[in-house]
Subunit: 332 residues, 2 copies
Amino acid sequence: MVSGQKQKLTIKQVAQAAGVARSSVSRAFTRPEMLSPETVRRVRDAAEKLGYVPNQTARALSTGRHGNVALIVPDIANPFFPPLIRAAQMEADRSDFCVFLGNSDEDPKQEDKLVGRFTGQVEGLILASSRLSDERIRAHAAQRPLVLINRDVEGIPRVLIDSGSGVREAVAHLAELGHQHIVYVAGPVTSWSNKQRRLAVRKSAERLGLKVDIVAAIVPSYDAGREAVAAILTTGATAAIAFDDLTAQGILAGLADRKIRVPGQFGVVGCDDVLGAATYPSLTTVSNRSVEAGKAALSLLLELLQSQSLRDIRYVLDTHLVVRNTTIDHKE
Amino acid sequence: MVSGQKQKLTIKQVAQAAGVARSSVSRAFTRPEMLSPETVRRVRDAAEKLGYVPNQTARALSTGRHGNVALIVPDIANPFFPPLIRAAQMEADRSDFCVFLGNSDEDPKQEDKLVGRFTGQVEGLILASSRLSDERIRAHAAQRPLVLINRDVEGIPRVLIDSGSGVREAVAHLAELGHQHIVYVAGPVTSWSNKQRRLAVRKSAERLGLKVDIVAAIVPSYDAGREAVAAILTTGATAAIAFDDLTAQGILAGLADRKIRVPGQFGVVGCDDVLGAATYPSLTTVSNRSVEAGKAALSLLLELLQSQSLRDIRYVLDTHLVVRNTTIDHKE
DNA sequence: CGTTGACATGCAACCGGTTGCAGGCTTTAG
DNA sequence: CTAAAGCCTGCAACCGGTTGCATGTCAACG
């Protein structure tokens, strides 16, 4: 039914073919209940036969509804994000929305630029782990519906993954195993998640009477973790909780370099569960909920678009400890 | 300069403010060389002061140029793709293009649907590891400029990662280490890359006098690799080359379950190098070039958009073996 | 039987830019 | 000094839909 010609089929040709006015063709697609069933059928048949498909751009121009949303993340290649992106994407798809993807490269300027580029073509945006200032976020939110992920700005709808709950479980788990002195290997200072995790370690260690030291890895990466091992060992701690799994993997490598057995001589806990059980020994870590976060953010956004309501929404997802083999030796 | 109002600033207000016709405002932005420098300045100043930003949708409607491209992948969460997506995204950004991301979920129907949704809003598309039939791909290519990644359809511009070269090196490497009998753990039957890798293993093993068996994992995943271990061991081989790194990691886990030492008693080679050295023991694998592929595909597409030329382009990236610790014990 | 109202459809303006063409003014050549 | 050639700028049509309003038709109602 569709042929290879690269013609421009418009509502006009369909109108002619069906013997009605252009407006009726339009309505046959957007408000069929306004027309007689007979007319709708005639128009649809004609459209089908010609292979007509409505021009999304023209429609967007006159209605203001584009059917697009944008999702901006700091780094697509960071394994935390792909599942989130995927979930958001699939959720958008269910409502026939298209999603623009932006990579801010951890740079607020770049993020700002992307928002600007997208704004004109979307009905709403999602910023995941935004690096923008609260002020810029508010400014953008005033222009377009905006949902945040892992960023807590009052008045802006947001989806937060509370890694605090999982981290508290991790500390309790280590205490139970007899550790008395642990280290938190910190991530980026600007990260909301890092702040939250550090606080959770501090508080619950205090409650349980454990000694805590903080070692900075700053960049969350394998190499940073590996290099942090020297500092970790000088503290005299017997276990470490890392900002994320990448860092944790680096720590494991650094320990292996020094022939320190895990979990026998030293315990390691990651965060975000990005690798699953796919490494050996498999990493004890905190679950991430990134799939739910992506899905929730998208549906929240779509909801906002519908209702136009501006309630202050704060959706929190809790996390849990996933015990694998870097804190305790499991028997299969 | 920009304020919080949610007004609709159009070319008209700017024209009024600058005391010129609407067309002059338009030209001040799109073809400044047609206007006197003085007028351009006046218009730009006025626009700046008001905070005017051209409406991309309206522009697209009249010019047909949207400044968007679409990228469709089978699975965003498969670690092979994020670096590719990221590279494409950044390359697009350099030319002020926005990118739509689609996840086909390994399903041709879904992929077709996405292409349809995007077509009206983009100037060109990139299909990575497309699951569509050659026929559908050709049909879509007739509508819009289209570039393929890891899919070899004659007449359609394509970027191919030739894992054959790396796989041949892997086989030679294993032969050199004394292995006489190896296994190829296969991936999806519809995958172009899988076909290519299997063939490369077969051919070069034959040339070197090695015995080869094929074991099917079908789905490329950690679990599939782990389950394939039983079949691998019954062949009597002493080393395995896996379709990808995820499968290889699963194999390592399965071997560990059976207390088989790697690389001492059994050698393992992955493909795609998605985990880097970030696991322990670190995986010997074949490099992937996915970053170059993403970047190349995008710039190829942009080039096509400019030149309108329809040459048959076939851009091939070769790969190499990356030797780490699952085939041979390294000393640091 | 005339009026009212519901329903179906067409007309034309509009969304916000772009662009071919024409007209006015200035410059250059004859 | 006049005509040809540029250079700027404005007018108005157009991109392809959507939508408020007017019109026409027909059934139901008083």
